[in-house]
């Protein structure tokens, strides 16, 4: 089924990078097990795997952040010791991290030369960098204003600065870690054009991602990791998303969500002129109008940071807002002076927070304690006015773990010891089984393995079919498109327009996500 790929013209020369038998353990966890991989020169090589499959560990070893327990690294066929990031840079490796490492109040030029200045005086370096930037801009569409401050640039442009930094350091091998997580589809396409251009100039590119579509679009070869092991390397042209997904998970997966058409009922929540101003006086939500009906999933698409979080937090009672919001026809107190997230729950609003580590769970608490978290005032969890009924909570947790297939099914473990998918199942079990009228869901499958994604999607559809209203916020367009009954797109704190998932597509939504078209632009 899967053949080791060695063909292709580029493979005749020594591979740009070769890892032989790399292993790395963190305490009892074997993060990388005997990894072997060859990345051919002048190719784009995808590395795909679920969260915790060991991708980041492998890249950190390659960039000198971790030392491998065993195995060797060959660059251009020569064994190379990479002891720190300086060694990686001098070996010609450049890294673009998921979270950029830029000085916000420096200019593009200053960031590019930072740490790679030629002399005590900055001018020669700055001039050299300026010249190089102009050349690169012309060659690869890598245009950024060299004198702009980083904080004034869009995320897509900041990412270009990261690439420029690597090129300025004469990187021949460029590693990008989840580069499209924060980009609009149009920006992602632009990035891919840049990467193809770099490839044509003989650069080698390693693209780490969990998005199958991107792998199919842009890579020449793809390596699949599962549980710390390299399970296969295949030619992209000879594989399919279904096959890759199976390799990642180790079993057959359904990529499509099965659902029947929605039967929308009464309006459960209606918002008019909903505004959120944050503590720094920045408008996060600029007058949102929104109706969510019983028995439908309203999907909110958008690039991260365009007001979706503020929308969720305003509705969930975590952020103060202005405007008018009615829940089942009764107005909600948005000021938070006399109410909070707890009172919002009493009104039938459950909330699966987009950040389960920071908010949704208390990682140090045991799982059963997390089952009561947020609902710890509920009568069934308390013996009397003073004492909680820990036994009842534990029993309830056991039932929820069984119904939501949480593994391992032991609520006595700390929440921290569960995988991302199982943590999310704990949160969902808690929020869904409260039988809310409205469920707010943020990024339900972020950092969740494919197997659990299937399960979570089914649960959301099942809740919808029970006639509940669901507001789904996700940066994964595929998820929005396959789950939603209606889609709104947010940009810069506004709703750009509404679409029917049956008649729209990623390109159409992508333009609205970039603020370019839409009904109100």
């Amino acid at each position: 089924m899967v053949a080791e790929v060695t063909g292709g013209a580029a493979a005749k020369a020594a591979p740009a990078i070769e890892l032989r038998g790399i292993s790395k353990a963190f305490g009892p966890v074997q993060a990388n097990k005997d990894i072997n991989i060859k990345v051919n020169k002048g190719t784009i090589h995808g590395i795909i795997g679920e969260n915790g499959a060991g991708k980041s560990t492998m890249m950190s070893i390659l960039y000198g952040f971790y030392k491998a327990d065993s195995g060797e690294i060959l660059i251009d066929g020569k064994p190379t010791q990479i002891t720190d990031s300086q060694a990686a840079i001098s070996a010609g490796i450049g890294m673009v991290f998921q979270h950029f490492k830029l000085v916000e109040n420096f200019t593009v030029l200053e960031n590019v030369i930072l740490g790679a200045e030629d002399s005590e005086r900055l001018m020669p370096s700055l001039n050299r960098a300026r010249k190089l930037l102009t050349e690169l801009a012309a060659e690869y569409e890598l245009n950024v204003d060299p004198d702009a401050l980083i904080e004034t640039l869009s995320v897509g442009h900041q990412q270009r600065v990261e690439i420029l930094k690597a090129l300025y350091r004469e990187a021949n091998i460029l590693i990008l870690d989840e580069p499209t997580g924060v980009l609009t589809p149009a920006e992602a396409d632009h990035l891919f054009r840049i990467l193809r251009g770099l490839k044509e100039q003989g650069k080698t590119i390693i693209l780490i991602t969990h998005k199958l579509r991107e792998i199919m679009d842009v890579t020449d070869e793809v390596s699949v990791m599962r549980r710390g092991e390299m399970v296969a390397t295949v030619n992209t042209a000879e594989t399919s998303p279904t096959e890759l997904a199976e390799l990642m998970v180790g079993r057959k997966v359904l990529l499509e969500v099965e659902k029947t058409p929605a039967k929308p009922g009464e309006v459960v929540l209606s918002a008019r002129g909903l505004k959120v101003v944050d503590e720094f006086g920045v408008e996060r939500l600029r007058s949102i109008d929104l109706d969510i009906r019983a028995g439908e999933i309203l999907g909110v698409a958008g690039v991260a940071g365009n007001g979706q979080s503020a929308l969720l937090e305003a509705l969930a009672g975590m952020a103060a807002a202005t405007g008018e919001v009615k829940m089942n026809g009764e107005p909600l107190d948005l000021t938070l002076k006399h109410s909070d997230a707890g009172t919002r729950r009493e009104r039938g609003v459950s909330h699966v927070h987009e950040d389960r580590h920071r908010c949704g769970l208390i990682l140090d608490f045991m799982a059963w304690e997390n089952i009561a978290f947020g609902y710890h005032n509920a009568p069934e969890y308390n013996k009397n006015k003073l004492l909680m009924d820990n036994h009842a909570i534990l029993e309830d947790a056991k039932g929820k773990f069984e119904r939501f297939d949480v593994r391992p099914p032991n609520p006595m473990l700390t929440a921290e010891s569960f995988s991302g998918g199982n943590q999310q199942k704990i949160v969902l079990a808690r929020e869904i089984e409260r039988n809310p009228d409205l469920l707010l869901v943020g990024q339900p499958t972020r950092g969740v393995d494919i197997g659990a994604i299937e399960f979570i999607h089914k649960q959301l559809i099942a809740l919808r079919d029970q006639g509940k209203a669901i507001l789904l916020v996700s940066v994964e367009l595929d998820e929005i498109l396959s789950l939603s009954d209606r889609i709104v797109v947010m940009f810069d704190g506004r709703i750009m327009g509404e679409r029917d998932p049956e008649t729209t597509n990623a390109q159409d939504l992508g333009l609205m996500m970039a603020g370019m078209t839409g009904d109100v632009a």
């Binding site: 969930a316 009672g317 909070d340 997230a341 208390i362 304690e369 947020g374 710890h376």
Partner: protein, 365 residues
């Protein structure tokens, strides 16, 4: 926190015991360096603190102080509030005890102790309430404000004792002695009816049992009540508490009030149980020792009992040592500091190698 890397018993017992051994070994080196015999010093400390009911009477008296201040610091720690102000809160608590004892003619100690506990708790809580309010509403860091409030408390007590509460005929900056009725029953009085002979001189008294009871109650508060659940949740993750609808302002205020009240209650022991009058610096650093006790006891209301006893031993054993040898009083403070440093601040120095060791053992099996 790191329970998955190590068995719980290693986390709770092995780490502090190893830290303690290292601290004692270093202390032994220091004692050697000044030309004394560390073995003899250790023997003196043990016989001095634990070798007689007299020694136990003092050791348990100090232990009572550290139980209450340690408990106070622990409750605040559980809400991730670093209350450095135990010292000041205990000093002000002492003022409450003195006022109740000096100005109300009590018929019996049992009534007086209830009033004294209430007064010291209220005084301590009020002293903690101001930094708590500033933290909750204004975001002023609790560490800074509680330290400042320690200084204010020192100066205030200084003024009160030298100008207001000092009997006009006395040169000593202290209050008059309390009425003899107010003398708290000591272990001698409590144990004598049971036929156990205990030294009359050791000041350990009925407050020891109050302190132990407080530990048990605090355990129930933290692990069996909604308030405890909310305090622990807030301490582990503030954003998560906000998500759950737990009011940060309420938790900060309540946790600090409880913390201040417990530290304040310590003064009942050190004022009513000890010299029976309020003297300058009646707290003798117990507020700060409480921080070390809480660190060593993992801020667990039951877990702090053993460290409180350890510091009680160090305090009493240390003063015996200063009497019997040429080891100066300052030396004892060095030993105590080493214990605090290794068990509190340098916890990871022992923990990390141990975790690696356990991981290695696990892989081999």
């Amino acid at each position: 926190m790191s329970s998955k890397r190590m068995p719980k018993w290693a986390d709770v017992l092995l780490v502090p015991i190893l830290s303690l051994i290292i601290a004692f070994a270093l202390s032994a080196l220091v004692i050697l360096a000044i030309g004394e015999d560390p073995v003899r010093a250790m023997r003196l400390m043990i016989t001095g603190a634990l070798g007689s009911t007299y020694g136990w009477g003092y050791t348990l008296y100090f232990t009572t102080n550290f139980l209450l201040t340690g408990l106070g610091v622990s409750i605040a720690f559980q809400a991730r509030l670093f209350n450095i102000g135990g010292e000041g809160q205990a000093l002000i608590g002492g003022l409450g005890v003195a006022l109740v004892c000096l100005f109300i003619p009590w018929p019996h100690w049992s009534l007086a102790i209830i009033a004294a506990i209430a007064a010291s708790a209220i005084f301590g809580a009020v002293w903690a309430a101001i930094p708590a309010y500033l933290q909750a509403k204004r975001g002023s860091h609790i560490v800074i404000t509680t330290i400042m409030f320690n200084f204010i408390a020192f100066s205030l007590m200084n003024y009160m004792l030298s100008h207001v509460l000092r009997p006009p005929t006395s040169m000593d900056p202290a209050t008059a002695r309390f009425d003899n009725v107010l003398r708290l029953p000591r272990l001698h009085d409590i144990l004598a009816p049971m036929g156990i002979d205990f030294s009359r001189a050791g000041p350990a008294n009925v407050m020891l049992f109050v302190a132990l009871l407080a530990c048990v109650l605090a355990y129930f508060l933290m692990w069996r009540t909604r308030l405890g659940f909310e305090i622990r949740a807030f301490g582990k993750s503030e954003p998560a508490a906000h998500y759950a609808g737990i009011s940060g302002v309420k938790i900060i205020m309540v946790a600090m009030l409880i913390s201040g009240a417990l530290s304040g209650m310590m003064a009942v022991n050190s004022v009513m149980g000890g010299p029976q009058r309020l003297v300058m610096n009646a707290v003798e650093g117990a507020g700060f020792i409480g921080i070390a006790v809480a660190l060593m006891g993992r801020s667990h209301p039951i877990g702090i009992i053993a460290p409180a006893l350890l510091f009680g031993f160090l305090f009493q054993g240390g003063s015996e040592l200063a009497l019997e040898t040429t080891i100066p009083r300052e030396m004892i403070i060095i030993i105590q500091a080493l214990v605090i440093m290794f068990t509190g601040a340098l916890d990871n120095m022992v923990r990390t190698p141990l975790e690696t060791l356990f991981a290695l053992m696990r892989r081999r099996t």
